[in-house]
Amino acid sequence: MTTLIENVIQNKPITTVEYTPKDFKSPLEVRWCSGCGSYSILAQVQKILAGLKIPREQYAFVSGIGCSSRFPYYMQTYGIHGIHGRAIAIATGLKVARPDLSVWVVTGDGDCMSIGGNHLIHAARRNVGLKVLMFNNEIYSLTKGQVSPTTQIGQPTKSSPFGNIDYPFNPASLALGSGATFVARTFDRDPKHMQGILERAAKHNGFAFVEIYTNCVIYNDGAFDLYTAADSRREHSVMLEHGKPLIFGANNDKGIRLDGFTPTVVSLTDGKWSVDDLLVHDEKDTTLAFILANMTYNSNLPRPFGIFQSIEKPSYEELTIRQIEEAKSKTPDTSIETLLKGEDYWEIK
């Protein structure tokens, strides 16, 4: 039986896939605070979608609650603004029902890892084909400035006036530990880097988790400056690129070398080490991904950005469809009449 969904998909008019970013802007006025990092993310998403050659009607953006979660209203695509923490679960149902869609989740650090933490880890382990953009501003903003699961230790906030005593999650490690097949980190201030990461996430088959450092100008301004501002960034961040050695520093004068399993900073100018001694990034190396993610809160090491891991394995929705097809092929009679009868039935004439 063809379902009505198939009718809609099969009978729809052919649409152009030549888009400009404008085609993805909804008529709704964007209402984030002036200077909010979310503006940049919205612009980069609209830009990369325009280039993907996927019909616009095939996109769905799903969100929860928080500043980030207003995102779907600003996209001229299908979308659901859900309830707090549940975006990934809503998106999972949508993707399983409609594997033909490109389903994106827009969420924040509180929405995704506190109230929604359970959905995050389980969607990651199932490898549901979702692109999860987690705007990390290390604070609850829409509720006006409370501690979030990524707020740094010691930080005073509205709900931690004497300093935060909750150790923060490292989102990349959490995603890797949960089995996410694609894990990356980028930040609001570098449009080119973000576009590159988003494009890779968009094309990933399976669960893609992208942590985006997003500056909150009101409640946590400058939280990421050390790693993202032009004057300090090159000394305190390292960009991961597949197949390339990990080099950083204002003059590209430092690198990361593995000492056993421990990453250490080495100088490239003191004559002891050369580029050949450095750690070379490999997105397919699942052990390395953990080591790199674990550099995150180590103050002796630069903060890593880029794709920690990108591996392939069948997605949940593919496995669902495959299992249905296999079960059908092994069942001689798949009529509902037969199902209704069950194994023990009798006839009265």
Binding site: I80, G82, H119
Partner: protein, 614 residues
């Protein structure tokens, strides 16, 4: 040997033993056989929430009750006519339900000192006068099966496990029921292990022969079969009926079915059945939690699936916020609550009807939604179809209330002809003039447009939306309008639900109003009292929100309204609030359905107090 044969209209038999004694299996085989033989059947599995409670304990007793016959079989039976007890604990727990003069078949093998102590018997009931009011047959089943199977090659443990099959064979003999359906079942079930199959077949026949040749049994019973309409029949539980109802609803709506669910007693079987329907194209997600169950279903509904979630009370509590989302999104969603005894974990395997308030009022803000209730196991099929139909037509979440008793009890079911079930019309909106909150003028349902339709890209969400356009709006007047529209939409469902049917006499002294699984007990009591010449009226409600259109006019005619419920009076409260008429409440909150005699006595008490007469 010549035996007296007594003909009966209906009989209730209960198999009781330890959790590991196979009582559920024995009972379900007996029930299938009696239905196959041509009687009405109503069954009730009664088992502890522990999987394998310590052997021999009172709380580890597992039982399966079958009421079968040609007349008055609306419930699994008030009193037991025949009790099969496999150990002292099961005797202790179940003897109070055996009618005086009833038949008791006891496996004496397990009446050891240790087991008697575990069952808190100070002296052996087989030896004192505990059983003097019953016809007792003491049989050492363990000894009989060990002797029978001594050359079978089975281990002593395997041999011991066949004792329930012996009891089953004896029960078939006692009621002159055929062995063939069980023989076929054994061959099918143990087809790949012929040794086990042979042993079970041998024991089954030996049980039957035991009755035939043993002079202990002087009487045999014959239950008159019923005249059934021609058709194909099977036994079915409420949970399986719900699962099949979902599949048929999706088929009739030409939509794919998606179930998002989390395991919970006594609703898990719905998830089990649905997950076994993969060959029929059904998709499901065993979610990480109850909230993931319902929210994934909401996502699937947005994608154009017939989406459902199944749960029980504690799970419904967790789904409450998402239900509010489904109300404001105005997407179709079927929520099945197989109610169990609460609050909190309560008595997970026992039934109750105490989630009506939660279904009706358990959301923040003004969030009305339709509530349906199934009245019998087979009605679970029909009401699931109804729930899906209303959900789709009115673009709303619907809660279907069943309960642990309906979910796990079974009765015979005439399998419907698929061609006679009407289609559920669905029309996805595809014209680019789409406005998300523009409504059908008759139903007030908004139109359903699904991702993949070019030019209809739209966003819905939990924030209040502007009427028609669906743009986010905080406008005060718009909010009131939207609240009123959503409420009015639910009210208009009245135009699609059947009028309440009044049984009995419009001018009766008493109107009984029931809902859900109380149907069987009320109907049995009602029929008996009518037969005795009492003037009574009875309305059984399947639609609890909105109520049927004619309910007010029925209620208006009666001064005495009696509402028995397995809660402290939740429907009574809603009826009083809605129709401003006092009602007489009657409750039983014991994890068990009403006995029909309890209802009957209460009615008589009310009639006597009111000076009513025959």
């Amino acid at each position: 040997m010549e035996r007296k044969i007594i003909e009966l209209e209906d009989v209730t038999i209960r198999f009781a033993g330890d959790s590991g004694d196979g009582m559920q299996l024995t009972g379900s085989r007996f029930s299938d056989t009696s239905a196959f033989f041509g009687t009405d059947v109503s069954t009730f599995p009664d088992y502890p929430s522990e999987i394998r409670a310590p052997e021999g304990t009172l709380y580890g007793v597992s039982a399966y009750q079958i009421h079968f016959g040609s007349k008055g079989v609306y419930t699994p039976g008030d009193q037991i006519d025949v009790l099969v007890a496999m150990n002292p604990a099961s005797l202790k727990v179940n003897l109070p339900f055996l009618r005086k003069g009833g038949i008791l078949i006891v496996n004496t093998a397990n009446f050891t000192e240790k087991n008697l102590k575990l069952a808190k018997y100070e002296t052996n009931p087989l030896e004192d006068d505990t059983l003097k009011d019953y016809q007792v047959f003491k049989i050492n089943l363990n000894e009989l099966v060990s002797e029978l199977l001594k050359d079978s090659g089975l281990t002593p443990k395997q041999i011991e496990r066949t004792k329930n099959i012996f009891a089953l064979g004896l029960a078939y003999w006692l009621f002159d029921l055929p062995l063939r359906p069980t023989e076929e079942w054994i061959n099918h079930k143990f087809g790949k292990r012929p040794q086990i199959a042979q042993a079970n077949l041998k024991v089954l026949r030996a049980g039957y022969e035991f009755g035939e040749t043993n002079e202990l049994f002087a009487i045999r019973y014959k239950v008159t079969p019923k005249k059934f309409e021609p058709g194909i029949y099977r036994n079915i539980t409420g949970n399986e009926a719900v699962a099949l109802g979902l599949v048929v609803a999706a088929n009739k709506a030409k939509l794919p079915l998606f179930l998002g669910s989390y395991p919970i007693t006594p609703a898990s079987e719905i998830l089990h059945f649905i997950s076994s329907y993969k060959p029929y194209g059904v998709r499901h997600l065993q979610a990480e939690d109850e909230i993931g169950g319902i929210t994934s279903a909401i996502g699937a509904a947005y994608g154009g699936a017939l989406a459902a979630t199944s749960t029980s009370g504690p799970g419904l509590s967790l789904k409450v916020e998402a239900l509010g989302l489904a109300v404001i999104l105005e997407l179709p969603l079927v929520v099945i609550d197989v109610q169990r005894a609460g609050p909190s974990t309560g008595m997970p395997t026992k039934m109750e009807q105490a989630d009506l308030f939660l279904a009706m009022f358990g959301r923040h803000g003004e969030a009305p939604l339709p509530i349906l209730a199934a009245s019998t196991p087979t009605d679970c099929f029909d009401m699931t179809l109804e729930a899906a139909k209303i959900a789709i037509k009115y673009m709303t979440p619907v809660i279907l209330l069943t309960d642990g008793y309906l979910g796990q009890s079974s009765e015979e079911w005439k399998i419907p002809d698929l061609n006679t079930i009407p289609d559920i019309p669905v029309q996805f909106y595809t014209n680019p003039d789409y406005l998300p909150y523009k409504r059908d003028p008759i139903t007030l349902a908004r139109y359903w447009a699904i991702p993949g339709s070019p030019g209809l890209e739209h966003r819905i969400g939990g924030l209040e939306k502007e009427d028609i356009t669906g743009i986010v709006s905080q406008d005060p007047l718009n909010h009131q309008r939207m609240v009123e529209l959503r409420a009015e939409k639910i009210k208009r469902i009245q135009q699609d639900i059947p009028d309440a049917e009044l049984l009995g006499d419009e001018n009766a002294d008493l109107l009984i109003i029931g809902w859900g699984s109380t149907y069987g007990s009320i109907k049995a009591a009602f029929d008996r009292l009518i037969e005795k010449g009492y003037k009574l009226a009875y309305v059984h409600l399947k639609y609890l929100n909105p109520f049927p259109r004619n309910l007010g006019s029925i209620i208006e005619k009666f001064d005495n309204i009696f509402v028995p419920e397995n809660n402290l009076g939740q429907l009574a409260f809603i009826l009083q609030g809605t129709f401003l008429k006092p009602v007489i409440r009657y409750h039983k909150i014991q994890g068990r359905i009403f006995l029909s005699s309890e209802i009957e006595n209460k009615i008589l008490e009310i009639l006597n107090a009111k000076g009513g007469k025959k």
